[in-house]
Amino acid sequence: MVDNYAIILIMILTVLGFGALLLSIGVLVRPYKPTPRKLQSYESGVPNIEPLKGRYTPRFYVIAILFVIFDIEAIFLFPWAVAFDQLGLFGLVEMVLFIVILLIGYAYAWRRGALEWV
């Protein structure tokens, strides 16, 4: 019992120590010559046109929530597909019910304009 926790503790310490070691080696070894161009958020990318502290439109939030929902659907679908043979008809019915409920939510979101980007 205690041994198991000791292993976890050793792992935590190893990870912390190793991370600190690598970072400090980097600081000691790498050259440091900052230029304004290098300090941009996307170096070698499109130049910033406004500061990053600006406000975001809440549409991102709606899209993110919708994304999470369908992401979770996919997460449920994978194990179901793997175990499809064992689950049989029961699994199929359950999954169809699940997807129908999700589709109603999808239709609702679509109909209420959550997917439109004006």
Partner: protein, 492 residues
């Protein structure tokens, strides 16, 4: 090959979910239809009809499934008769809320489809808790129930108070949820089971029932559930959330989540932690006295009737906790849990009724302060009479429903040997008469201050009428209803 995912599910298992499936159908239909059809009075009427028949169907289905206690889904759920009783109370409170919402919500420019859908989801969560015999199912049900209510509390999204109250409710409730699940984790850690019957069986074999781990588990569970039931000192969110929410929502959230919380309390503390009775009863007694005292005393100072009813709903939690404190053992001769069940039943009708009249008043261009009730008996006598009826019932005036609810609680307390607790209930009921009857006095003796502006309120009449009838009729029939509660509880 050994089948690792084999779950022994039969069609019988799904039978216990028929009432839940009907409410789920209501939620999906109202959501879908509300989004597809263009807003019109016809659409709103159709949505209301779907909801009304859905809840009626769920109540009838639950009642048809009584008398044959079956556990299903490998012991996760059971539709025993106590579950049926609680399901009927929760579905009935949703039904009554529909009646007082049908015209108020569209009149205040809120989308009715989403409103009914969230109402149904919250009801579904409560019903799941009522028929759950497993800590995990109880948790899922409580979350479904409260998440929907958070959104409903913020439904008047252009009003600052609504957002503020909903945010407070959301944050404190999330906090309580964390405590609750921590308590469940400790319970599981000590007993090694999440099924409440297993927990009870294992606890009964323990020699040392005052082990710190067990006490911690019980404490965390009581704190978490106390938050959801709005018991003092975990009531901080209640007044603001109740006052900020649209009045029909307040009516619903003062009843359904509370009944849900009590369903969880009955399942967890009585069915699961029953063997630890001697450890948790003192705690429940302290909570009940604090809750009754603070709820009743602070309600006196309120000029706003909505806020006053919020504090009064805290006080009613206290009365219900008194019934719980009288618990001795599951089985014959124990009047405590039937009295709690009956109190929940009674509370649903009279409290939604009182909030209903308030919503009616707001729909007719009035505010919610006590001055808005001045002379209502002259300008709108049926509504004034209904309000007086509900308030008398909340005070506990015989022969109304509220009187019998309190009577059975007091009886249970005395039988359990807590005579002093019964005296506290009576004294604080006398205090409550002051603030309830002040509204009645304003309605009947105050000078009429402008007639209410007319508005279409067809459903209101039906709903308020049904509630007045129930408060009177079930008051007279309280004996049979309590017998039913007792008999159904004994079938546990």
């Amino acid at each position: 090959m050994d089948n690792p995912v084999a779950v022994a599910l039969t069609l019988e298992d799904f039978k216990i979910l028929i009432p839940h499936a009907i409410v789920l159908a209501v939620a999906l239909l109202t959501l879908g239809y509300g989004a597809i059809a263009a807003p019109s009075p016809g659409r709103n009427a159709a949505l209301t009809v779907i909801s009304v028949f859905g809840y009626l169907g769920a109540i009838v289905a639950a009642l048809l499934l009584t008398g044959q206690p079956r556990t299903a889904f490998s012991g996760m759920g059971a539709l025993d008769d106590m579950a049926v009783f609680l399901i009927v109370v929760i579905a009935a409170s949703a039904l009554l809320t529909v009646f007082i919402s049908a015209q108020t919500i569209p009149a205040w420019d809120m989308p009715l489809g989403e409103y009914y859908s969230l109402l149904a989801f919250s009801t579904l969560g409560g019903m799941l808790v009522a028929s759950a015999v497993d800590l995990v199912m109880i948790f899922v049900g409580i979350e479904l129930s409260s998440l929907s209510v958070f959104v409903l509390a913020a439904f008047a999204k252009r009003r600052r108070e609504s957002i503020e109250g909903a945010l407070k409710y959301f944050l404190l409730s999330s906090f309580a949820t964390a405590i609750l699940i921590y308590g469940m984790a400790w319970t599981y850690g000590v007993t090694g089971a999440t099924n409440l019957n297993d927990i009870s069986l294992r606890l009964a074999t323990y020699q040392d029932r005052t082990a710190p781990t067990l006490l911690l588990a019980a404490l965390l569970l009581i704190v978490g559930l106390g938050f959801k039931a709005a018991a003092v000192p975990f009531h901080m969110w209640t007044p603001d959330a109740y006052q900020g929410a649209p009045t029909p929502v307040t009516a619903f959230m003062s009843v359904a989540p509370k009944v849900t919380a009590f369903a969880a309390i009955l399942r967890v503390l009585v069915q699961g932690l029953g063997p630890l009775r001697e450890q948790w009863v003192p705690l429940v007694i302290v909570l009940s006295v604090l809750t009754m005292a603070l709820g009743n005393l602070v309600a006196i100072a309120q000029r706003d009737v909505k806020r006053m009813l919020a504090y009064s709903s805290i006080a009613h939690t206290g009365y219900m906790l008194v019934g719980l404190a009288a618990f001795r053992q599951i089985g014959g001769g124990d009047e405590s849990i039937p009295s709690v069940l009956f109190y929940n039943f009674a509370y649903a009708f009279m409290n939604i009724g009182a909030f209903g009249v308030l919503a009616w008043l707001q729909l007719h261009g009035k505010g919610t302060t006590i001055d808005d009730f001045n002379g209502l008996a002259v300008t709108a006598w049926p509504q004034a009479a209904a309000m007086a009826f509900f308030l008398f019932s909340l005070t506990g005036v015989p022969p109304l429903l509220g009187f019998y609810a309190k009577y059975f609680i007091i009886l249970a307390a005395i039988e359990a040997g807590y005579t002093w607790l019964a005296v506290v209930v009576v004294l604080l009921s006398a205090v409550s008469a002051y603030y309830y009857l002040r509204v009645v006095a304003a309605m009947y003796f105050g000078d009429p201050a402008g007639a209410p502006t007319p508005a279409r309120t067809r459903f209101f009449g039906v709903g308020l009428g049904a509630m007045v009838l129930s408060v009177a009729l079930f008051g007279i029939l309280s004996g049979p209803v309590l017998d039913l509660a007792r008999q159904w509880y004994l079938a546990l």
